[in-house]
């Protein structure tokens, strides 16, 4: 640049270097973290707070809401073997004859349902 017409005062660098070195005596050396470096930590903390507020906890996710059900979950549920899940919910009927219905004691049946139905309501 010098050759192109950009000049400097005589002995500029010799004198400038000395005055620049004095900066270390005049200015305090900062060792505190700069405010800019605190930003990532503050941003991370804010994100965690927002996540806690907006997203459901693990416990609340366990509750099944009908409106939240996906069709895949419904199909999976329906395809499960009902006997394996709740065997006591099915009355064991004799396969000998349809007339066996006639001999079921209605009182006994009502008593059974009264005692068991709470499990499925």
């Amino acid at each position: 640049m010098k050759e192109q017409g950009f000049k400097i005062p005589d002995n500029y660098f010799e004198q400038r270097k000395e005055s620049l070195k004095e900066i270390s005596q005049a200015e305090p050396l900062s060792s505190k973290p700069s405010p800019l470096r605190l930003w990532p930590w503050l941003a991370a903390a804010a994100s965690i707070v927002v996540a806690i507020i907006l997203f459901p906890t693990e416990h609340s996710q366990d509750k099944m809401e009908f409106s939240n059900l996906h069709s895949e979950q419904v199909l999976e549920f329906l395809s499960e073997d009902p006997y394996a899940v709740h065997p006591e919910s099915f009355l064991e009927l004799s396969d000998s004859s349809e007339n066996d219905w006639q001999i079921i004691d209605l009182q006994e049946l009502e008593h059974y349902l009264d005692n068991r139905s709470y499990e499925y309501l």
């Binding site: 640049m1 017409g5 950009f6 000049k7 660098f13 400038r16 900066i23 200015e27 900062s30």
Partner: protein, 176 residues
């Protein structure tokens, strides 16, 4: 540019004063010319050099050695130089093009061709202007410029290409 090996040792041993003085000795002259190639005027370059070393001193204890010290200094100097030009631009109300005001710089005596080039440069968008200035006045390699300006080499080359085309057009030079 290769920096002395013992600078990292100074840093590790927290011998900041020694390190700072050596950096002034080794780097103030090349840094001055780097700054001058951006701001053009001597008095602005002198102010920016002072501000750069104040910033360097204040931040030296926090330097984590992720880059070479000289790269870090050049980055600070580049930011300070660009910041200085922005400040000057704000003061130049109503002017579309940036005015380096070289007519009032007693340390500038470029010929008519250089003056015409600088007038053409002042019409360019900032990024294109800086890339062209660093290439033309400092012949800085794109890879080094990329580190200093924290911009990709591809983007710098594209800016340089556009700048060159616009300057040729401004100066009525042939395209090739």
């Amino acid at each position: 540019m290769q920096e002395p090996d013992h600078w990292k040792a100074y840093l590790a041993n927290q011998e900041y004063d020694l390190l700072f003085k050596e950096m002034v000795d080794h780097l103030s002259e090349p840094l001055y010319w780097h700054i001058r190639s951006i701001v053009m005027r001597h008095d602005w370059a002198d102010d920016v050099l002072q501000e750069t070393f104040i910033k360097v001193w204040k931040a030296l204890a926090k330097f984590r050695g992720e880059s070479q010290l000289y790269t870090w200094l050049y980055r600070i100097a580049s930011r300070e130089a660009l910041g200085h030009l922005k400040k000057e631009k704000r003061l130049q109300l109503g002017d579309e093009a940036f005015n380096f005001q070289l007519q009032s710089d007693v340390y500038f005596d470029g010929d008519a061709a250089l003056q015409a080039l600088i007038d053409a440069l002042s019409q360019l968008p900032e990024k294109q202007r800086i890339v062209f200035q660093l290439k033309y006045f400092q012949n800085m390699p794109f890879a080094e410029m990329s580190e200093v300006l924290e911009t990709s080499v591809g983007a710098l080359k594209a800016s340089y290409h556009h700048a060159k085309q616009k300057i040729k057009s401004q100066l009525n030079l042939p395209e090739n």
